[in-house]
């Protein structure tokens, strides 16, 4: 099942915290770190994120695999940014010149994105997507956005099953992908079929909702309760975030 949530199950300190508090802290952290322009803040953020990750006790191998995917994108930055950013030339590669400023900027971006990803993994990926949607709703995010999230997740699952059914139907009739027109045509049919079926499905779901008196309003029954643990978590996290902010305002000279 490709839609598994490997981090959502667990019994660590982080897992037991109220989802709303975790989302709040993660969001604040992400904004702070994303806006940071100094290495001190970026490194501090990375350290904090790593600390949260350790608290969440996530399987290290899966964490690294995910980080690898994200850093795949960042690799392209390393290939482009140092050579295009204007500044003092550090070294040359044929006609290309890498600038000191470019390298520093790329390094900063790498640190910041890894810090944010780690923090999100530790704080947000440790809850099921459904809980995330319900918690966002409790945080008074626009209902339509929350339901967009929940519906997307809900029907990704259905479409995945539909896709598997179609692929199975092809397989049991002896379909083997090769490099020929028959294969391309079959894949085109598969994609088209998935699209048409998804559209039909959406239509029927909406009809079923109408049949149950739907008039554009959604309700959630889930309620979350703040516990003492959550108060402590916020009481500890907010000053630390404030410290991170001060680090940004009065930067230490690291580099």
């Amino acid at each position: 099942m490709s839609l598994s949530e490997p981090f959502a199950e667990g019994d660590s300190l982080i897992h037991r915290l109220d989802p709303r508090g975790r989302i709040l802290v993660a969001a604040l952290f992400a904004v702070l770190v994303a806006a940071a322009a100094t290495y001190a803040t970026a490194i501090g953020g990375l350290a904090l994120a790593a600390f949260c990750l350790a608290l969440a006790r996530l399987p290290l191998k899966k964490v690294l695999t995910r980080l690898l995917v994200v850093n795949g994108f960042i690799f392209f930055l390393w290939a482009v940014l140092p050579f295009t950013h204007p500044g003092e030339t550090l070294w040359r590669l044929g006609p290309l010149a890498a600038s000191r400023e470019g390298l520093l900027l790329t390094g900063l971006i790498t640190l910041k994105s890894n810090a944010i990803i780690l923090a999100l993994m530790a704080l947000v990926a440790t809850m099921p997507v459904i809980t995330l949607g319900q918690a966002l709703q409790q945080l008074r995010l626009p209902g339509k956005l929350c339901h967009l999230l929940l519906f997307t997740y809900r029907y990704l699952h259905v479409f995945e099953l539909e896709y598997q059914r179609l692929v199975q139907a092809m397989k049991i009739r002896g379909f083997q992908p090769k490099t020929n027109l028959h294969t391309y045509r079959s894949y085109a049919y598969l994609a088209a079929m998935l699209l048409v079926r998804s559209y039909d499905r959406a239509e029927r779901v909406f009809q079923a909702m109408l049949c149950r008196g739907f008039q554009g309003k959604f309700y959630t029954l889930r309620t979350f309760i703040w516990s003492r643990r959550d108060v402590w978590f916020l009481a500890a996290a907010l000053p630390v975030l404030a410290g991170l902010f001060c680090l940004e305002l009065f930067p230490l000279r690291l580099l």
Binding site: R204, C211, G213, F214, Q215, Y219
Partner: protein, 231 residues
């Protein structure tokens, strides 16, 4: 004679782009207290008939009268849907909330019930169907049969005056099927069932109708007297 719950007069319906109409000058009546089975070959229009009654499909001609009132506009059908429950053929079309309890409570909440009332109704309905303990289960991770039962619960939770069931038994095991039969026999409301299972219909309906293009004629198959027999 009491007025029919549903009356379809001279109804004509053709799917867009289809060469032939599904219904042409179609007439049909359902009287209060009736437990009717709809039978007929695949593609004859049984599901279409249910969807026309719910206003999900719009006829090209003819009159639809439900509970003695003609329904024409989408607004009219909003009222119909509050009182008529439709169980879809495919439960994946019907269940969309994250958890079972939320899905079952969705209808009552739409009817204006308070949160507590809706949850109470949802729990009661689920208990009727033997779905205790399913409250926090995730709807799309249920098995096919479980989905079907939960979908039925979502419809029953609206406490409808009339129930339309589109192949309710597909994917149910024997024990669950028996529970469904028992439940339907205990219902005080009228219902119509589309099904291909003669045995199931034998136990749940008093009359079977063959759906045709122009009418819905009582079946010649002897069914009377078998209803409400102990299983």
């Amino acid at each position: 004679m009491t007025a029919p719950l549903i009356e379809l007069q001279h109804l004509t319906f053709t799917y867009p782009g289809a060469p032939r109409p599904v219904f042409e000058d179609f007439n049909f009546q359902l009287f209060p207290g009736k437990h009717l089975g709809l039978v007929g070959p695949n593609g004859i229009g049984k599901t279409t008939l249910l969807h026309l009654i719910m206003g999900l499909l719009r006829p090209q001609a003819g009159r639809i009268v439900i509970f003695g009132k003609e329904v024409k506009t989408p607004r009219d059908f909003v009222e119909v849907r509050r009182q008529v429950g439709l169980l879809f053929q495919n439960p994946d079309d019907q269940l969309f909330c994250p958890t079972v309890l939320e899905d079952v409570a969705f209808g009552p909440l739409n009817l204006g019930k308070s949160r507590q009332e809706a949850v109470a109704i949802a729990r009661e309905t689920m208990a009727q169907l033997g779905l205790e303990g399913f409250e926090e289960r995730v709807t799309y991770k249920l098995s096919g049969g479980e989905k079907k039962l939960v979908a039925l619960a979502t419809v029953l939770a609206m406490q409808p005056r009339l129930l339309l069931l589109d192949e309710p038994t597909t994917g149910l095991d024997e024990a669950t099927k028996h529970r469904l039969i028992h439940l339907l026999q205990g219902l005080k409301i009228s219902y119509m069932i589309v099904s291909h299972e003669t045995d199931f219909l034998n136990h749940t309906v008093t009359e079977c109708c063959h759906v045709h293009m122009h009418c819905c004629r009582p079946d010649t198959m002897p069914l009377g007297g078998k209803k409400h027999e102990a299983l």
